[in-house]
């Protein structure tokens, strides 16, 4: 609830939704340090539909983890929705993920034993909503992806495309500031993959902010803006 309220009351400061300044990330893998990001500056405005492309090992996964608040930068600044998240504690990051970010993963990552309704309710559970409110909002989110009638099903009773739609519903349910999709079509056949991209297009048309990480130039071509990462630096936009 509070997340929603914050977004609505957020004055237009002119500042971008996402602001990265000179972000670096260094992994210490034994003897040699690996510099995954070497000073990245990015600004993404509210309502933008952006793809991040790059070959594997380019730092695009690291970029995604930092954008998604799953990891913190080694140095540099990261403002998300007006909050400085670069040096937050794990607990605070969990709250930010819960309220401001909706994830869509390549492998869907649904809880296999829970119904799809429970799966979609999950972020609301950790936000502390009461079960009646959770159910109502989860059903709304399922409606947006056209799966409201299957709410009692378990993930293994659904096709891959349907599972990814459930995951999208889960990403939407908390009304996040940012939807972060990591290779969302990677585990789907081409036709189903395009259906999922269509859903993202619709969401973008409804002013959702979406960052889509992909290695597929064809998919990247459908977004308004493309950020290409090579060797831990932004090569082109």
């Amino acid at each position: 609830m509070s997340a929603l309220a914050e977004i609505i009351e957020m004055p237009e400061t002119g500042k971008a939704l996402i602001q990265l300044e000179q972000v670096t990330k260094t992994y210490d893998s034994g003897e040699n340090e690996v510099q995954a990001l070497r000073g990245v500056d990015v600004a993404i405005r509210r309502g933008e539909f952006v793809s991040i492309i790059g070959p594997s090992g380019s730092g695009k996964s690291t970029m995604m983890h930092i954008l998604g608040c799953l990891d913190t930068p080694t140095s540099g600044k990261y403002w998300l929705d007006g909050e400085d998240v670069a040096e937050m504690s794990n607990r605070a990051l969990a709250r930010v993920r819960n309220q401001k970010i909706g994830f869509v993963f390549q492998t869907f990552n649904l809880l296999p034993r829970a119904t799809i309704l429970k799966n979609v309710e999950l972020p609301l559970l950790y936000a502390g909503l009461r079960s009646g409110d959770r159910r109502e909002r989860a059903m709304e989110a399922l409606k947006r992806v056209g799966l409201e009638k299957r709410f009692k099903s378990r993930p293994n009773e659904l096709s891959g495309g349907q599972r990814q739609r459930v995951a999208i519903a889960r990403a939407l349910v908390n009304a996040p500031s940012l939807i972060l999709a990591d290779e969302p079509t990677g585990n789907l056949d081409q036709k189903t993959g395009w259906e999922i991209i269509n859903i993202f297009q619709e969401l973008a048309a409804n002013d959702e902010t979406i960052v889509l990480v992909t290695h597929d130039p064809g998919i990247a071509a459908t977004t308004q803006r493309r950020i290409k990462i090579v060797d831990g630096l932004i090569e082109s936009e």
Binding site: A94, R97, N98, L111, R113, L122, Y126, S131, N174
Partner: protein, 409 residues
């Protein structure tokens, strides 16, 4: 809210992996079961002991015996020392301030007859104090009175088995029977004494075979002057259990002064009781330790299986973290699962404990009392096991790095 969800999750987990859960819980079930059994048997044992002490004269009872002294022959011993006498009893009553009742007994084998039946039996010469001392009551007629003692009256009180033996179903009170060649008026029949630890054997039955005459009558019969009359056993009652040592010391002091030698033995039931209590504690401890060991083993199994299931669920934990579960929320989720599963095990353990107690009860004829506090104790132990051993897997889960967790296949 999270807790409730975790509980629902936990119940689903028990249902989905029923076999695994049961395996996981064997230790906890047996542990809780043996705790129930221990407490039930111990509670019942204590209750039975207390009841037995009550019917046999209470814990304030003190025994005073003649003590055979070494290798001296019986005749020589008799010459050397008078042994316990009626005068000793009176001295104890007068001089031991922590003693409120003294009951000396003088016994002799005598021939009894009524009608055609003639039999030798042990007859006890007693004081009226015998009745409160030994929890003896007479409803049919009356017990030996002070007046009977003063006048050395020829009156007798019969135990139920003696009454039946000589008088069958007739009421013996008011009838005269011949004891040692003289006529005695039957003035009362002692109420039947009954106590059983196993609902089978009456451990007080020997008292139903007794018969009592005034101690003065007995001594006159034996041709002894009353004050020097020999006493085979004496009981005394202390005023206050807390001062049991003092009471025993006072008695020993009086007897030592009167006899000049220690040819007696004084034993208080409190001392006995203390020893028994120590023994009981040993048994309790042994059983408890078995129960606790089972619970420990059970706890380790819970921990292992919880760790294994946690490895299966690394991705799930990663997902939960990605959508915003805080470390604390993950910690409580895992911990509440362990506790829930353990409580479930403890609950099953209560039934197993019931079976244990019933088995033991029918095997060794020991009573068992299952009290609510016993059940609550067992449950608390089981839940505690889950709490302690669930801690480590829960901490591991809560510290999991979400990026690595999501990468796990």
């Amino acid at each position: 809210m999270i807790l409730l969800e975790s509980i629902i999750d936990g119940i689903r987990d028990i249902k989905d992996h029923f076999g695994r859960t049961m395996l996981q819980l064997v230790g906890i079930i047996l542990g809780a079961g043996s705790i129930v059994a221990t407490f039930s048997l111990s509670v019942a044992g204590k209750a039975a002991s207390m009841e037995y002490y009550k019917v046999s004269g209470g814990i304030q009872k003190i025994w005073i015996w003649n003590q055979p002294t070494g290798k001296v022959t019986l005749d020589a011993k008799a010459l050397a020392s008078k042994g316990l006498t009626y005068a000793d009893a009176m001295a104890i009553k007068a001089q031991a301030p922590d003693v409120d009742l003294v009951s000396p007994v003088s016994q002799q084998q005598m021939t009894l007859s009524y009608g055609k039946l003639e039999k030798p039996h042990n007859v006890m010469g007693i004081l009226p104090a015998y009745s409160p001392m030994n929890d003896v009551h007479v409803t049919n007629g009356r017990f030996i009175s002070d007046q009977d003692v003063e006048t050395a009256a020829r009156v007798v009180v019969l135990g139920t088995e003696r009454a039946e033996e000589f008088f069958s179903t007739d009421n013996p009170v008011g009838k005269t029977m011949i004891i040692g060649g003289a006529g005695y008026l039957v003035v009362g029949v002692q109420d039947e004494k009954y106590f059983s630890f196993d609902q089978k054997r009456n451990v007080m039955r020997w008292m139903n075979k007794q018969m009592y005459i005034p101690i003065t009558t007995m001594m006159t019969r034996k041709g002894e002057p009353v004050s020097q009359g020999k006493v085979s056993i004496m009981n005394a009652r202390m005023k206050d259990v807390k001062r049991h040592k003092e009471a025993v010391e006072q008695i020993e002091g009086v007897l030592q002064r009167n006899h000049g030698v220690k040819d007696f033995e004084v034993l208080s039931r409190v001392a006995n009781l203390k020893r028994n209590e120590a023994n009981n504690k040993m048994y309790d401890m042994t059983f408890m330790i078995c129960g606790i060991i089972s619970l420990l083993v059970g706890g380790i199994v819970v921990m292992n299986i919880q760790l294994a299931s946690f490895k299966e669920r690394v991705r799930e934990v990663g997902t939960r973290k990605a959508v915003g579960a805080s470390p604390a929320q993950i910690f409580f989720q895992f911990l509440s699962e362990s506790v829930l599963v353990s409580i479930f095990g403890g609950f099953l353990g209560l039934f197993v404990g019931r079976l244990f107690t019933q088995g033991i009860t029918s095997l060794i004829k020991q009573p068992a009392i299952v009290t609510p506090s016993t059940l609550i104790n067992a449950m608390i132990f089981a839940a505690g096991t889950g709490l302690v051993f669930g801690m480590y897997p829960a901490i591991r889960a809560s510290r999991l790095n979400p990026i690595e967790a999501l990468r796990t296949e």
